[in-house]
């Protein structure tokens, strides 16, 4: 009884990583417990109903889960918790959606009272058709997503066995010339393909695009790829042309500027969710071809309307790609029911240990405000406070000093407020990329940065997503979207791509001391620390003093 695992009453699992059985234990609990925090000594996993259902969907049963807990636990596991786990897991699969030769889509149960219970729900009634026999009820095919969503909310998630349409076939091969899928990417593709639909969780820089490409090569069908923005769309296109047998002409871009529909079409969330006169005019994209695969990039950012459209796409294979299942809006359950259960997950640190992403040194630089700034901050309106402390002149000076310190290294300065960025750009004599920078200009600048012609780039939050800047080794964050953890992860991701020379990446956060800025920073950094990125805190004046010496 000296296992590495401690089961807490709030259903968190504490795993002592230095324990000799820690790895074995991690293997068995990973399928059903969500890694919540991974600091240096004790990792925290959380057992949630979604996690348990994910495990059920992956073919694990309650017995295995209970055995795993009992086998590795250091202290007796509360009986109530075990009962609860068994009970929760048994809820999945009592209802199944399947194809019926005569009635089309049907909902079948193995436990009649459950069917009675859910049929009594007002939310389910409009989604189902005639009762075929005591255990079976017809479901209109168009409500396949809706009913899954509703049933999950009622606590009876349905297993979707209704299968998928193959879609219009289109030859796609991976062009593995001089490179190949990394083992974990290979594993992710396989898990996804066997599961049918679902989400693959990989850290930034771990090559999610390639997992997408791998999935397409498996599907060999027309594919719709949904991405966050145009730059990201170009990135995907570039990457697909390079890594697969697809040519430029086979890949279409469906964005604000172009409306191409080709065998492989990359669309932005933005254009899909554009609403005119109360309707979404670009929705027909989903029906414009017989898609065999739909890929959702950055699932954690999926806008609400896309969920709605996705509910109607349940007969098509869906692949979600993301760095984190944590959604700031808490719609994880919609991801589960509409896109699918988690199919693959690899913690950040593990991939770093395999050398696929660069190690990073995270430093928080605390800046003392001047007396006059402090007074101004104290008297600022509460909704202006963050903006004020995030953009103080003291911070500018420190940021500039940091850039000077890393002169010659590829440096990104990331911020939230445009005037602050403009000012910084001016002082550093560096170009600024922001929302109104044209796509052509953006790509030109990114290219210059990539080629090393530019060594400092100032970017606003437009660069948060999916741009690929392989040679950035230093990132300096001067302000952010309040306390967004997911933004922090994205930004850290900018510098985590492996460097040619194995150089350690640096991630600086410049924070004004004793202000709300510091609180937000603490919130964001907690995420980093929980991912195992121990950060240091340095006083700005010490840093500047070093410089002076």
């Amino acid at each position: 009884m000296n296992g590495p695992l401690i089961v807490q009453s709030d259903k968190t699992l504490l795993l002592e990583v230095d324990h000799e059985q820690a790895d074995a234990c991690r293997q068995v609990i990973a399928p059903f417990a969500e890694l919540e925090r991974a600091p240096e000594h004790i990792h925290t996993y959380r057992v949630t109903p979604l996690g348990l259902w994910n495990a059920r969907a992956a073919g694990h049963d309650a017995e295995q889960v209970v055995d795993a807990l009992v086998a590795y636990s250091r202290y007796p596991v509360p009986h109530a918790l075990l009962v609860d786990i068994a009970e929760t897991m048994s809820r999945y699969g009592r209802l199944t959606l399947s194809k019926h030769p005569a009635h089309g889509l049907v909902l079948t149960t193995t436990d009649r009272p459950v069917l009675e219970e859910i049929l009594r729900s007002k939310k389910v009634q409009p989604l189902v058709g005639a009762r075929i026999d005591p255990d079976t009820v017809a479901v209109h095919p168009s409500e396949r997503g809706q009913i899954k969503q509703t049933l999950l909310k009622l606590g009876w998630p349905a297993e979707d066995l209704a299968g998928y349409v193959d879609g219009e076939a289109h030859p796609i091969e991976l062009a593995e010339d001089g490179w190949s899928l990394r083992p974990y990417q290979q594993q992710a593709v396989e898990n996804f393909w066997h599961g049918g639909s679902g989400v693959v969780v990989l850290p930034c820089g771990a090559g999610k695009t390639l997992v997408g490409a791998g999935a397409m090569a498996e599907a060999k069908a027309t594919t719709l790829i949904l991405v966050t923005n145009t730059v990201s769309a170009r990135q995907w296109k570039h990457e697909l042309v390079k890594r697969t047998s697809l040519t430029e002409d086979e890949i279409g871009e469906y964005s604000g500027t172009k409306k191409e529909i080709r065998p492989v079409t990359i669309a932005t969330y933005q254009v899909l969710t554009t609403k005119r006169k109360g309707v979404y005019p670009h929705l027909e994209l989903f029906d414009s071809r017989d898609w065999g695969l739909v890929v959702y990039d950055e699932v954690h950012l999926l806008p609400a309307p896309v969920f709605k459209f996705t509910a109607d796409l349940q007969a098509r294979r869906r692949l979600g790609l993301t760095a984190t299942l944590v959604r700031e809006d808490g719609r994880e359950s919609d991801v589960f029911s509409l896109i699918g259960p988690k199919r693959f997950d690899a913690p950040w640190k593990e991939i770093e240990a395999q050398g696929y992403i660069a190690p990073a040194d995270c430093v928080e630089v605390r800046v003392n405000l001047t007396d006059s700034e402090r007074l101004a901050y104290a008297t600022a309106e509460s909704d202006e406070k963050y903006r004020f402390c995030a953009t103080t002149a003291s911070k500018q000076r420190v940021t500039e000093a940091l850039v000077r310190r890393h002169a010659g290294e590829q440096t990104l300065v990331i911020g939230q407020y445009i005037d602050q960025l403009d000012e910084l750009g001016e002082h550093l004599d560096a170009p600024v990329i922001k929302g109104d920078t044209s796509n052509a200009q953006r790509e030109k600048l990114f290219n210059a940065f990539r080629e090393g012609e530019l060594s400092v780039l100032v970017v606003s939050k437009v660069a948060n997503f999916s741009i690929d800047l392989p040679e950035a080794t230093v990132a300096i964050q001067v302000s952010g979207t309040f306390g967004s953890r997911q933004e922090e992860a994205q930004r850290l991701g900018r510098v985590l791509r492996p460097k040619a020379d194995g150089h350690e990446a640096r991630f600086y956060s410049v924070v004004a001391r004793d202000t709300i800025d510091q609180d937000f920073a603490a919130h964001r950094q907690r995420f980093l620390a929980e991912q195992g990125y121990a950060y240091r805190i340095v006083d700005a004046h010490e840093l500047l003093a070093d410089e002076g010496a």
């Binding site: 401690i6 009453s9 709030d10 968190t12 925290t44 007796p76 509360p78 009986h79 950060y535 240091r536």
Partner: protein
């Protein structure tokens, strides 16, 4: 005890039989019916009389197990006195009858002597085997009547049912049944009875009955034996009525007489005799070691929870409702604080209350708070703390399971409130655990099996109590949101009190760590195995010793991490835990504890007087890992700002516009005792109270004036809130406490001696003569009771002396009708109406000469 030996002549009364029983048997009787001991009866006649009172018999019958009860019921429908073989026949049914399981019959036959012995031991049955007699009150209680059908489903006898019939109609029936006419109704009834009892003749008679008649009989045979008929019965009913197989009861109803029913049942009094207790079936064998560990884990959780509760209420708990108890909102709040559901929280609260750890403080605005005993409790080693809780739980009559349900008047029962006492609780709890204890170690059984066994052991007790608590019950389902589970439990939830207590007990035993995954833990065995008369402290020590090695040993270190958390991978030593709770917020509890350092929590530590260096070194000393840089930085950063604003405590201040005067005071040595401090040129702060300061300055020759309290900074440290010394609530057992051996021996000796004195033949003294005319009769209370009961039986009149509530004495002539519960209900010839007299107000009785009664 077994059958009566033939050495004594057959006793004529219960008292006589008791007189012949050995002392051990009397002890056993008094032990099983302790109500007979209060007060100690003066002789065996009195003991027998008391054993025949209705209240005592009801109490004894309620405590019979299912088979003994069935035996008693069979005796109640058998002739009185009843030979053993007749009784055995009623229990097993006819030898040659088909349809009965021969194994069951053998079991009944085998168990019957034991059941009879149990009834005899309880003094419910007496007499030798050939003349078994059920105590009269018990017979009345169990005999079927029109208003109260017997559990046997048998109706009245032919003689009883035919009592009101005209002789002519009787003769018609006798003739229709194919019997010769008889001279009078008595012989007619006897002839009919013997026909019904003659299996062959009866079978022959019924063979001729129409098929529909058989259907009717099939409906009535297992009871209730009553049916309704119209004024013009159908032919098949008419056939039965004509032959007396159905006898009329009133105008519309008919009854199947007992003898006929017994014929149809092949002589069986019970459809399903239950000679054997239901097995504790489908036992699951678990690893006993795992069971012990699980239970110990839960025991540890119980201790932590109670500890947390005490901490939560350390500064004074929630207010006491005016009607007593905790408000629903406070209960919910406590549940949230304890991170559990409302029902479980109510259990912890009641447990702490039963153990005397919390109580109301009894002040004007009453609040709950830990008692001084809680302080002592917290100092004990973990295993002893647990034993205290477990012992308190075992003995408590308060039932947490009732919290939140409504009582008979519709009032919701509050936690810690009144009306939660249920006397059977301790007995049921012990019994449930004893049942589990009877299984091999590590064996768990489904709760239904336990409930079935309990029901068999006390079939009446449960049913009798079912009505008052029939209020809707939300069930004591686990608190987690397993709605389905709850629904399931509600569906199966039994309504009778004993079963409900048993269910709660099983659940609570698991919570408290007496059982682990449904099986009794090893340490609990030690607690339960204590002999009844042994010093409980001994068993407690044994339990603590068994539990101690299973409890996790407290750790002296934590792991510090860069995300500003500290993880204690197990329970911490108390000083360390207390210090960490001060410096960091608890984020997650269970086997381990996760603490999170925040600026606020570090500030709390600094406020408590620790310096940054102090905290750093404390953490370094107790961490297995180096203190992470962000944590060290956090502490220094908070410390840097800590104390920039200074707040001090001053009890009083001196204000004066003339700073020279203040200089003077500061320089004065006599002011030392006032501990003055200069805060500003014109302000002094004093640690002395305002009145002391005033006195002091006056003594120094100044003329200070007091200022109103406005602006005065008084920072009072909140003091731990304690009740005055309180004792834990005493359990409210049902009936008198079980007598111990010493008392029993003394009581038996006293009864014997009294009996000897009472039954010794002596010369009639002058007192024995009738009282002088005009004087009240004087008799002892035992004589009074015996005489009145005898008079009630014989319907004879008595002359009594009576003192009314005002103390006025009178003489009355009464004819007792009923003697029950210390009252005699009688027709009062003097007042010419039926009145009820308390027996204790009757000074004495005297039988009337026969001629005076008329």
């Amino acid at each position: 005890m077994g059958r009566m030996s033939g050495s004594h002549p057959s006793p004529r009364t219960l008292a006589e039989e008791l007189r012949n029983r050995p002392d051990d048997d009397l002890s056993a009787l008094l032990r099983s019916r302790p109500d007979l001991l209060n007060p100690v009866p003066s002789d065996l006649t009195q003991l027998a009389t008391r054993a025949g009172t209705r209240a005592s018999v009801v109490r004894a019958v309620e405590r019979l197990d299912a088979f003994a009860l069935q035996t008693a019921e069979a005796l109640a429908v058998a002739p009185d006195p009843c030979p053993y073989d007749t009784l055995a026949g009623l229990m097993t049914g006819d030898e040659e009858a088909s349809g009965t399981d021969s194994a069951l019959r053998a079991a009944v036959r085998g168990r019957l002597p034991d059941a009879l012995a149990a009834l005899r031991a309880q003094a419910l049955v007496w007499g030798p085997d050939d003349r078994l007699r059920l105590v009269r009150t018990a017979r009345e209680l169990l005999t079927p009547s029109a208003t109260r059908p017997s559990p046997t489903g048998l109706g009245p006898t032919v003689a009883e049912a035919a009592a009101g019939m005209s002789p002519g109609r009787l003769q018609e029936i006798v003739t229709a049944a194919g019997l010769p006419t008889t001279p009078d109704p008595v012989t007619a009834v006897a002839a009919l009875t013997s026909l019904f009892e003659d299996r062959e003749a009866m079978a022959a008679l019924l063979d001729d009955a129409p098929a529909e008649s058989h259907a009717v009989l099939d409906r009535l045979v297992w009871g209730p034996p009553y049916g309704a008929v119209t004024a013009q019965p159908a032919p098949h009913l008419r056939w039965l009525l004509d032959r007396g197989v159905l006898l009329p009861v009133g105008a519309r109803n008919v009854v199947l007489p007992r003898e006929a029913a017994l014929h149809l049942r092949a002589g069986r009094a019970h459809r399903a005799p239950e000679p054997e207790p239901p097995a504790l079936a489908s036992a699951t064998a678990r690893d006993p070691e795992m069971v012990d560990r699980t239970a110990a884990g839960q025991a540890f959780t119980a201790l932590a929870t109670i500890d947390e509760l005490l901490k939560e209420w350390d500064l004074g708990g929630p207010p006491v409702l005016r009607a007593g108890g905790l408000s629903v909102r406070d209960l919910k709040r406590t549940a949230t604080a304890l991170d559990t559901g409302v029902h479980t929280a109510a259990f912890w609260l009641e447990l702490a209350y039963a153990a005397g750890l919390i109580a109301s403080d009894g002040e004007a605005d009453e609040r709950y708070a830990p008692t001084p005993a809680a302080e002592d409790w917290r100092q004990l080693p973990a295993e002893e703390r647990w034993v205290r809780l477990a012992a308190a739980w075992l003995a408590a009559t308060r039932t947490a399971g009732l919290v939140g349900t409504a009582d008979a008047k519709g009032r919701t029962l509050a936690a810690l409130g009144p009306h939660l006492d249920r006397s059977p609780a301790p007995e049921v709890r012990r019994r449930v655990l004893a049942l589990l204890g009877g299984l091999p170690p590590g064996t768990a059984v489904p709760q239904d099996a336990v409930l079935a066994r309990l029901r068999w052991e006390r079939p009446l007790r449960g049913a009798a109590q079912a009505t008052p608590d029939a209020a809707p019950e939300n069930g004591h389902a686990p608190d987690h949101n397993a709605a389905q589970n709850a629904a399931h439990a509600a569906h199966a939830a039994p309504q009778d009190l004993r079963s409900r207590i048993a269910l709660w007990s099983l659940h609570e035993a698991e919570l408290l760590g007496l059982t682990g995954r449904g099986a009794l833990a090893g340490h609990t065995r030690a607690l339960l195995n204590a002999a009844p008369d042994a010093d409980p402290a001994h068993a407690h020590r044994a339990t603590a010793a068994a539990l101690a090695p299973l409890l996790p040993t407290p750790l002296d270190h934590v792991l510090l991490q860069a995300d500003l958390t500290a993880v204690a991978p197990g329970p911490l030593e108390r000083p360390l835990a207390d210090a960490l709770e001060l410096l960091a917020d608890v984020e997650s509890k269970g086997g381990a504890t996760v603490y999170r350092f925040t600026p606020g929590s570090v500030r709390r530590g600094l406020d408590a007087g620790r310096s940054a260096a102090d905290i750093q070194s404390f953490l370094a000393a107790h961490s297995r890992t180096p203190v992470p840089q962000p944590l060290a930085y956090l502490i220094d950063d908070v410390a840097r700002r800590h104390g920039v604003l200074r707040i001090g405590a001053a009890s009083a201040y001196v204000r004066c516009d003339d700073d020279a005067l203040l200089n003077e005071i500061m320089a004065d040595r006599r002011a030392d005792g006032l501990r003055l401090r200069r805060l500003a040129p014109t302000v002094l702060a004093a640690q002395a109270a305002p009145d002391a300061l005033l006195e002091g300055l006056r003594a120094m020759g100044y003329a200070p004036a007091a200022e109103s309290a406005e602006g005065d900074v008084v920072i009072a440290r909140a003091d731990a809130h304690r009740t005055p010394p309180r004792t834990a609530p005493a359990p409210v057992p049902d009936g008198p406490p079980a007598p111990d051996t010493t008392l029993l021996e003394a009581a038996v000796r006293a009864i014997r001696a009294g009996d000897l004195a009472a039954t010794a033949e002596r010369k009639p003294g002058p007192e024995a003569a009738a009282p002088a005319p005009g004087r009240l009769p004087r008799t002892t209370s035992a004589e009074t009771l015996a005489t009145v009961q005898a008079a009630a039986l014989t319907n004879s009149a008595l002359w009594i002396g009576y003192v009314n509530a005002d103390g006025a004495a009178s003489q009355r002539v009464i004819a007792p009708v009923r003697v029950e519960g210390g009252f005699v209900t009688a027709y009062d010839h003097t007042a010419d109406e039926v009145r009820t007299y308390p027996l204790h107000r009757i000074t004495g009785v005297s039988e009337l000469a026969d001629d005076a009664a008329s």
